[in-house]
Structure formats: C-alpha cells, structure tokens
Assembly symmetry: C2
C-alpha cells in the first residue's frame, strides 16, 4: 500500500496537516521540521494522491486538448507543443480527437469536462461555433476566428512566401489551396494576394474544385500546406518539369517529410511553441481568476530549402 500523509505524520509524531504544509510549502512550518518531513517523505516514497488532492482543491491539474484530426500532418506538431507547454506548467494533457463532424467535437468537449479537465485547448474544426462551457477554453485557430486566443499570422505567412518568390524574380504564381471553407487556408491565400507586386500575376487553384496542377504556366507555386506542396512537386516531376529549375514550390508548416525529400521543401512555419505557450498561459490566467488575456498573434517564418530558386529565364516563358 502507498503511504498516506497520515503515515508519514505518525512516523514523525506530527499532524497530517503539518506534513501537508511542509510538502506543499504553503502553510508556515519551521525550516528544520520542514526538512525532516521532506526527507522522510522521500525515504518512504510518498506520492500524494492526485484524486484526493483534486477533490479537495477542485483542480485536477489536467487540461483537455481537442484536435480536429491527428492523422492530418498539421496537428501532431501542435499536440506536441501543447503537451510540452502544459507539462512545463505542471499540467497533464487529455487528448480528444474530434475526427468526423463537429458533433464529435462537441462530444469530445463534454467528455473532457466529464473527465475532470480544468480547462480546454481547442483547435476547432471548420465552421465550429463555440458553445458556452463552464470551463476556461483557449482557442487556437486564426485571427479571423471570433473568440480566438492564440494563432499564427497566417496572412503574414502568405506574404512572406510571395515576397520570397518575388525576390527570386518570379512573376507568375499559382496559389494552391484545398478548401475555401478553411479559415487558415483562406487567410494564407489572402496574405499572398495582398503581397503581390504590380508586375506579378497569380491564379488560385482549389483542389476541392478539381483541376490540373501540371497545366499551370506559373513559375512559382505556393501551397497552403506541405502536403499539397508535395502533391504539386510530384505532379510536376511527373509531367517533366524540374523543381526548382523550372518551377519553385513553397509549402506551409514544416512537416518532417519536407526535409526527407529531394529537393527539400522551402516552407513557412508556425511558431507552435509560442502559440501553445500562449494558449496554456491563457488557461492558467483564467484558472487564477484573471480575465482571459487578449488574443495573441505570432509571426511565421520562412525556411528556405532546395525547392525554390531564381525564376527561369523569361525568354522561355514569353
């Protein structure tokens, strides 16, 4: 049997309350006694019961993380960052994958609440309307999302990608998205459009509409995710265009496979650490009784790799 607070109190002939005070450091205990208590606690391999503590304090020390879909390469990075930020703040992380419709997402939220989460980090599915919960919630999505807590500057990221291609002399671009419904994708593409210089032109291809990537005459392609960049890259190869010699390709989110391929993928990455940290900080603040902090937006950064190069000689183009 695990030793309880009382056991170590008996061992030293003090009261359980004093042991609690000594161990948590909250009440006042003489330094000498405190050290003796800590020493014997260690010796007896005392582990406080999280359930008892949770019942007493009303805090489980666990937060819930709701993700749209772990099998989408974008989200594990966020999960990892949230887990590490939470661990640093002393929280455990309960995951819930809301795979499927927004209904499962609601179920997931309820389940986490039932399981005693102190707060929730939510990466919402497209078109979610946040229901009222009596738990603190931090939302990670985009600046365009009402109620958002922390997000990347997706428009700025789009602009970064266009600026990079502009610097390399590209004039004719293709923007590649999957779904118009995704706020993240729309924001990224809006940022791209806004950053076009007067000499540049761009078309947008939404994969949900169908359409042939290889048919483009653009010399630069910016996809809203590494996954679609990969599709573009391999489709181009297949049709005999070389990357980056003939066409440059940029992705988003710096997924592991972008470094596994040849040429490695130039990509625009989120500062997932910072975002996760802000989300956790927001929850911690709310749990501390403070009002929810303002939304925080973090810049994205472009990592140049082998998939982008100067535009080919215009002679061939025109």
């Amino acid at each position: 049997m695990q030793p309880r607070l009382q056991d170590i109190a008996n061992e030293l002939g003090v009261s359980a309350a004093t042991v609690s005070n000594a161990l948590t450091g909250r009440g006042r205990v003489s330094p000498a006694l405190r050290d003796r208590i800590r020493a014997t606690a260690l010796a007896m391999e005392y582990r406080p019961s999280p359930q008892a503590r949770a019942l007493r304090t009303g805090r489980s020390g666990v937060i819930g993380l709701v993700l749209p879909d772990l099998s989408n390469p974008l989200f594990p990075a966020i999960a990892q960052a949230v887990e590490s930020a939470a661990a640093a703040a002393g929280f455990g992380v309960l995951i819930a994958d809301s795979r499927g419709d927004t209904g499962t997402q609601t179920d997931a939220l309820r389940r986490l609440e039932r399981q005693g989460a102190d707060g929730i980090v939510l990466v919402p599915r497209r078109g979610t309307r946040l229901m009222a919960m009596d738990l603190p919630v931090a939302v990670i999505d985009t600046a365009s999302t009402p109620g958002n807590t922390a997000a990347s500057d997706h428009r700025g990221g789009g602009a970064l990608a266009v600026a990079h291609l502009a610097d390399l002399g590209h004039r004719h671009l293709l923007f590649l998205g999957e779904s118009r419904q995704s706020l993240v994708q729309s924001d990224r593409i809006a940022g791209m459009r806004a950053a076009l210089t007067p000499q540049m032109q761009a078309e947008t291809l939404w994969l949900e509409d169908g359409g042939d990537i290889a048919a483009t005459r653009a010399t630069g392609i910016i996809a809203t995710s590494d996954l679609h960049a990969l599709t573009a890259l391999t489709t181009l190869h297949r049709s005999g265009r070389r990357v980056p010699d003939d066409v440059s390709v940029i992705g988003f989110d710096d997924h592991a496979f972008g470094r596994a391929i040849t040429p490695a993928l130039t990509t625009v990455a989120q500062d997932t650490q910072a975002i996760a940290g802000a989300a956790i900080a927001s929850l911690a603040a709310q749990l501390g009784g403070a009002p929810a902090p303002h939304e925080r937006i973090f810049p994205m950064t472009l990592t140049r790799r082998g998939s982008t190069a100067p535009a080919p000689n215009p002679n061939t183009e025109t």
Copy 2:
C-alpha cells in the same frame, strides 16, 4: 454551482445513496424510482464529480499514453487509434511525449503515475528497459520486445512487400532502413530477407551509414517507412529514374502523404485499430484483476498503389 448527488436526493426526498445506486445501476432500486431519479438527474443537468468518484473507487478512468515522438509520422496514427479505443472503453487518454532520451521517457511514466493514470500504454523508445511500475502497462512494439503486449507482424509485413515485388518479376531489390537499433526496422528487414526466392538478390542500405540510394541497380526498393520511401522516390526522380517504370518503391505504415504524391505509394500498413484495441483490452483485463493476457500479433496488409509495377525488361538490366 453544479448539483451534487445530495441535491437531487433532496429534490426527490430520497437518500443520496439511493440516487447513487440508481445512477450507477449497481445497487438494487425499484425500477419506477430508478427512472424518476434518472429523469430528474437529467433535468438538473447533474454531472458526477470525477474527482470524488476517483477518490472513492480508486480509479480515475484515465490511462496514460507514452509515445517516443509525435513529430514522427508513424506515431500519430497509433495515438489516434489508442484514443479511439480508449474512448470506446470509457477511458480518457493522457498523453506524454518522451521526446529525447529514455530518461524523459522515465519521467513521462512517473508523471502519468503522479497524475493518477489507472494504467499505461507504452510505445517504447529504442533500447528501453521496462522498469517495474505498480500500474498495469501495455507495451506496443514488436514481437522481439520482451514484455510486449500487442504488435504487428513486422516480419510478415516485410515478407508481404518482397512477395509483391517477386510477383511483379523483380529480381534485384534494395532494402532501405534508417537505424539498425530499431527493432521494428530490423524485424521488417529480416522478414524481407527471409522471403527472398532463390532467384532474387538484395542489398540493404542503412541511412545512418550514409550511402547513395541513386547508386543502386535494384529495380525494386522497399523502405522500412513511408518517409524513407519518399526519400527514395524523390532521389530517384532527381537522378532521372522513373517510378514505377524503372524502379518500384514500397513503403510502410500508410501515411497520409503517400496518397498525396504522384505516383501514390504502395505501402504495407499496420492494423492500428486492432493493436490499440488489444492494448486497451489488456489494461482493462489487468484492472479487472485478471492476469495480463498473452501477447497478440496482428498481420499487416499491403495496399497496392501506383509506385509499384512490373520489373523493366531484363535486357536493359544485364
């Protein structure tokens, strides 16, 4: 304030114990009363306190999941499967990423224990030696791992890949691994070797040793993961070889990007659902007082896609 068991008891003029019996269905309560209690509980939006229940029963209803590295494309699939199997069995899932050395893995295990997990699903890092824990643990790794609970038949998976290429007339293969230390990779390659027919020959390239994939004269490449298959695919393209016309490529684990590329990747997949289900079932059994069930091994399946085709005409080869 949330209603407690007592509140709903007062409402109906019965005792809290009866309400508890009615709601959990364990004690004996007259059907009529039971239904009335359930109805008012619903009406009052009663939610049992997980912390109180946990303290009383000694069970938190939460299991821990320890993964080596969420950013490695292999693991999110497992996480998703475990989460879904756990949810089906009424468990929540606390994640811990043991990113870094085996020391962090030990920390992760301790943290989950401290946080009140009832049991643990562990996907161990290479070379882990499982420490004794006083929690039930289910290990997902390979049949070669001592103490393993559920795993894929990685050798069988390797054999499947070789058989597929043999059927297509390939005689000269290249096996691509990353690290000899990985039991999973070693098992897969061992299975490949064992399945070679007398007419076939194969070389093995470990990426940790360096070496040039494009230098091979093999007409079929089997990588121990989709990620390395992707490296092979793009490297071959780069050096002017066509996939699958000149060289066929097979990966492992059926990651999302394998379907995003052109040609789509033929791959050997694990039955993650079954494995996760077995792991959860093992924990549930142990929590129920039963001994840990025997190890269970699940077959892998090959999904044929565009990256494999009949071997090119031998004339060009010899």
